[in-house]
């Protein structure tokens, strides 16, 4: 039983990362029907930005910044810089294609290529050595019986929840948030609301990439081994999470992220972990079989 609770805590922490990345996938998908395969790599870029920013801040001359101060400055800097990366990709790679009226899958492939450029560009520029984020938050381990939790894990889970609530408010309460939802219904009606389409799209990328940057920062704090390919696999898994949750729906991305983490961790925990992928993906396949449009997805009704 204790083991089960411990595994739940593990799953909550790991699911937080999936959820944070999946939110970015789902936001962009909701607006553009674009699977932004570069998103996992934007997450990686976020982690690297956090590394550079915090290293730079810690190296300031005496008296220097305290750890807490550094963290407080690194968070906004990372979020802003990462969202700029996301918006840049949109501007130079996706938008021209969209303007030319390309099939949406061509934009998807372009996104895939952008991801490769980010990964390998990083590798070529920074070398293959892995980076470790300096410690920004002193780690405490709290134990309750046989259950061990660190303050880091609690922070991660808390942040993920906070981001979800924030996003939910943005999408349901603000004008631009409502415009985002409107785009996914009808792209042509949007100008009627008095908001230019491009602005909504840029805003979406800012939000999505900013959250990925935040995720990257938290990830770097929790798993301080950064390498250029770290975002690729996590990105694919988060995409899977977003789809299983029902892509295009914020609740779906959130639920999907945690669901995927629970499935992966519980399978590894209570079945032979050598078969983890086999069982975990079979379960996901079954879920999609039973609910073909994901947990929160609305079945597409065709009217003839």
């Amino acid at each position: 039983m204790e083991q089960f609770i411990q595994q739940c805590v593990n799953a909550l922490q790991w699911g937080s990362f999936y959820a944070l990345i999946a939110l970015g996938y789902t936001l962009v998908y909701g607006v553009l029907l674009l699977i932004n395969f570069a998103h996992g790599d934007i997450f990686m870029v976020g982690a690297y930005i956090a590394f550079f920013v915090s290293t730079f801040l810690l190296s300031t001359p005496e008296p220097g910044l305290s750890q807490g101060m550094t963290l407080a400055l690194t968070i906004p800097a990372t979020v802003i810089l990462t969202s700029m990366v996301g918006v840049t990709l949109e501007r130079i790679a996706y938008r021209p294609l969209r303007r030319k009226g390309a099939h949406r899958l061509y934009v998807v492939i372009t996104a895939l290529m952008c991801g490769l450029i980010l990964e390998n560009g990083n590798l070529a520029l920074l070398g293959a050595g892995r980076k470790a984020l300096p410690e920004l938050l002193e780690k405490h381990v709290y134990t309750f019986g046989n259950i061990a939790v660190t303050n880091l894990k609690l922070w991660v889970i808390f942040t993920a929840l906070l981001v979800f609530v924030f996003l939910h408010l943005v999408v349901t309460r603000t004008r631009i948030g409502m415009a985002m939802r409107a785009v996914s219904w009808d792209k042509f009606a949007l100008p009627l609301m008095g908001i230019p389409l491009d602005m909504v799209i840029v805003f979406t990328f800012v939000l999505g990439s900013g959250i990925a940057g935040l995720g990257g920062l938290l990830f770097a704090v929790s798993y301080p081994v950064l390498d250029p390919y770290m975002g690729a696999m996590t990105g694919w898994k988060a995409f899977i999470a977003a789809v299983v949750g029902g892509i295009g729906d914020i609740r779906g991305a959130f639920a999907g992220g945690f669901l995927l983490a629970f499935v992966e961790i519980m399978v590894a925990a209570f079945l032979p972990s050598t078969f983890r992928d086999l069982f975990a993906f079979s379960i996901l396949m079954l879920i999609l079989w039973k609910r073909p449009t994901g947990i929160f997805g609305i079945p597409a009704t065709t009217k003839i």
């Binding site: 998908y29 699977i35 790679a93 021209p96 294609l97 030319k100 009226g101 390309a102 099939h103 899958l105 061509y106 492939i109 372009t110 895939l112 290529m113 952008c114 490769l116 450029i117 990964e119 390998n120 560009g121 590798l123 070529a124 694919w236 995409f239 899977i240 789809v243 299983v244 892509i247 050598t274 078969f275 983890r276 992928d277 086999l278 993906f281 079979s282 996901l284 396949m285 999609l288 079989w289 073909p292 449009t293 994901g294 997805g297 065709t302 003839i304």
Partner: protein, 358 residues
């Protein structure tokens, strides 16, 4: 006669290639790259059936290639090599050239059966949800193979080398090149015949308007099953060839990255264009291999011109930055791939005079 020009040219080309290889005019590297190109052509044009003609988004197609590669290797090892797992070889080595096509066929069928797994959910779900199911299938296949220690698990499997050697013993011909050429021709012909038949056009009808297709009498479920099975079967054939050209298979060689390579080739060529997929496969292979020569050359040129600082070298690492960059640029110029959804003969009607491709 004129209509056969292209066919005759292709025949001459194929015979010429084989002769050149036989006479030792082509080195092994060129041969392997050519064979790899052939494998890519089969893989890409097969995937094009599902992702192009049928408009689905199958993201995990390398999984079927993996099934084909392993089935083919195991069969080939069991028939002609024997070993710990199989005991004595089941057939005398002289029969290797005769049975290789059978191995290709059986492994293709086996991969096609796995294709069913993906075809069934496609009745319920489509588009990006189906993408996940194919990715899941890819992971599941790899996970299964890695857990079977008898066939090498993560160590991979090899043992088909003996089959190839057996073929050389029968007659000293460039056997694998011959098989690759034959497979490419056969696969492309079958594919062409499928998509031009009234039954096969149902695939495109499902893509363009599934409801209309169903109500106009097209058995959409059957069409989907057919398309998925043919497509995964072709991937399986590509897998067998891969296994025998390289003499080694490993489950991780068919992971999601391989699948995305297939996607790149399909969309680069143009969705639903066979000639496009072939062109894209050729271009992609040339790009990957050509840059091995182009990058050092570029490095030398830039250094001679003193554009780059002396201690900075453009190494092969930049290759995987340059390739996606080129592909992105190509997409910007041709936002629907090389050929869109048309064939070469539609773009250049004059070509029709030279072709009788049936």
């Amino acid at each position: 006669m004129q209509r056969h020009t292209l066919n005759i040219l292709m025949l001459i080309g194929a015979v010429g290639l084989v002769t050149a290889a036989y006479a030792g005019l082509l080195d092994n590297y060129t041969l392997t790259v050519l064979m790899f190109m052939g494998i890519n052509i089969i893989f890409a044009s097969g995937l094009n059936l599902v992702n192009g003609y049928m408009g689905e988004f199958s993201c995990g197609h390398a999984g079927f290639m993996c099934v084909g590669a392993y089935t083919g290797s195991l069969l080939s090892a069991a028939l002609f090599a024997g070993g710990k797992l199989f005991g004595a070889p089941l057939l005398p080595p002289e029969l290797a050239p005769l049975f290789f096509p059978l191995i290709l066929l059986v492994s293709g069928l086996c991969a096609a059966v796995f294709g069913l797994i993906v075809a069934l959910p496609s009745f319920h779900t489509r588009g990006d949800y189906l993408a996940i199911i194919t990715i899941a299938a890819n992971y599941i296949i790899i996970s299964i193979i890695e857990n079977i220690d008898a066939i090498g698990g993560p160590r991979g499997f090899f043992g088909m080398k003996k089959t190839i050697n057996a073929m050389y013993d029968v007659a000293d011909l460039p056997w694998m090149l011959i098989w690759v050429i034959i497979s490419v021709v056969v696969c492309l012909t079958l594919l062409y015949r499928l998509v031009t038949s009234t039954g096969g056009k149902g695939i495109a009808a499902v893509c363009q308007n599934e409801i209309a297709a169903e109500i106009m009498g097209v058995d959409t479920n059957r069409v989907k099953i057919t398309a998925f099975m043919v497509s995964s079967g072709l991937a399986g054939v590509a897998g067998v060839l891969y296994a025998h050209v390289y003499g080694y298979v490993n489950a991780q060689a068919f992971n999601i990255l391989k699948s995305t390579e297939g996607l790149v080739m399909v969309y680069l060529g143009g969705m639903g264009s066979m000639s496009g997929a072939v062109l894209a496969a050729v271009a992609f292979t040339l790009l990957v291999e050509g840059l091995r020569f182009a990058i050092p050359a570029l490095n030398d040129v830039l250094h001679t011109l003193n554009i780059l600082p002396a201690d900075f070298e453009i190494s092969q690492i930049w290759k995987w930055v340059i390739i996606p960059l080129i592909l992105i640029l190509l997409m910007q110029f041709r936002p629907e791939g090389f050929l869109g959804n048309r064939e070469l003969t539609q773009l250049f009607p004059k070509l029709k005079r030279w072709i009788t491709f049936r």
